[in-house]
């Protein structure tokens, strides 16, 4: 049930911000400071989410096969690999390390 509540709240709030952008008069969100915060917010959240999903299990910090997978994905990113390759590298390396250390 709580999953459905989360889905409903997310669906309504994400739709509301999309619609707000189309409806508010131009200029309301055009101040440099507001734009700057809006541009940096996804950076902060994505960085924290990447780190947490790679290095945490519930509320404990862990260093396991996923960290190796993410490191491999970072290398693929630096080599300008396409999106598919980056994800595939992360998955394959994680599975490989897990199978070896199993």
């Amino acid at each position: 049930m709580s999953v459905w509540i989360a889905i409903a709240v997310t669906a309504v709030s994400c739709y509301a911000v999309k619609l707000a952008g189309l409806l508010v008069p131009a200029g309301a969100l055009e101040r440099p400071r507001v734009r700057r915060v809006a541009a940096l917010l996804p950076v902060a959240l994505l960085a924290a989410l990447t780190a947490q999903q790679a290095f945490a299990d519930g509320r404990t910090l862990v260093l396991d096969a996923k960290a190796a997978g993410l490191a491999a994905a970072a290398v693929a990113l630096l080599l300008r690999a396409p999106f598919l390759v980056i994800i595939a590298v992360a998955v394959v390396v994680t599975a490989g390390v897990r199978a070896l250390t199993g």
Binding site: R36, A38, A54, A65
Partner: protein, 236 residues
């Protein structure tokens, strides 16, 4: 192409996080903004409450309001159409629309991109979710690494300036540092504080820089060839 693959990755990740196929597909149909969906299932898998999980997803979706702002001027949609168009205001439709030379082609680009991505995203989500349920333990196949890898691939192009890298670094410290002590889902929201922290730090540096420049005008002039500072970027 990339959307289809990340739709598949989302379906797999969501099913791996314990959501049913129906819940996974409902997210893609009703939310339709990838980063928020990944964030939500990640937070729920970590044991977060539905409201803290939804708050993280909401903050990631805020950027769509700024896309909508630019699109509303560009597309000049009639008021009656806007509630329907709003659902398709995402990174990709904005990028395609802004790349068009005129209003007619921008509207066409928005509609075609929106329709095809919406279809593709939902079909691949379904495929990923059903596939993940079929193979059982997704962790054995390393599929739990798909979520963080998608985030990393989304994040990397955003890290262009020193300020953006500073925000990412502070966010990682806040997100991981508060993880053991705060309720699940809350640490990601704490990481959002990296934005005011870094902007405040940049403001302090700019102010002390201004004072120094006022005291020594010749020294300030010798810095003209250096890259723009964080404070100057604020004015863009």
């Amino acid at each position: 192409m990339a959307v289809g693959l990340s739709g598949f990755a989302f379906g797999v990740t969501s099913a791996g996080s314990g959501l049913t196929v129906l819940q996974t597909c409902a997210l893609s149909l009703l939310v339709f903004t990838g980063a928020s969906q990944f964030a939500l299932v990640g937070a729920l898998a970590g044991g977060g409450s539905p409201f803290t999980a939804a708050a993280g997803a909401f903050f990631l979706g805020v950027r769509n309001a700024f896309y909508g702002l630019r699109l509303s001027q560009l597309l000049a949609l009639p008021r009656a159409v806007r509630p329907f168009a709003a659902h398709w205001v995402i990174d990709e439709t904005t990028a395609v629309s802004l790349a068009q030379p005129g209003r007619r082609s921008a509207r066409l680009g928005f509609t075609v991109t929106g329709l095809s991505l919406y279809t593709l995203w939902n079909l691949t989500t379904l495929g990923g979710a059903v596939g993940a349920e079929a193979i059982g333990d997704t962790d054995t196949w390393g599929l739990d690494a798909a979520g963080p890898a998608v985030f990393l691939a989304l994040l990397a192009p955003m890290l262009r300036t020193t300020q953006e890298r500073a925000v990412a670094a502070v966010a990682v410290l806040l997100g991981l540092g508060t993880l053991p002590v705060l309720p699940a889902g809350v640490p990601v929201l704490m990481a959002a504080l990296a934005v005011p922290v870094v902007l405040y730090g940049a403001g302090l540096r700019a102010r002390s820089g201004t004072r120094a420049a006022q005291g020594r005008p010749t020294a300030a002039r010798s810095h003209e060839g250096t890259p723009p500072t964080a404070a100057q970027e604020d004015d863009r």
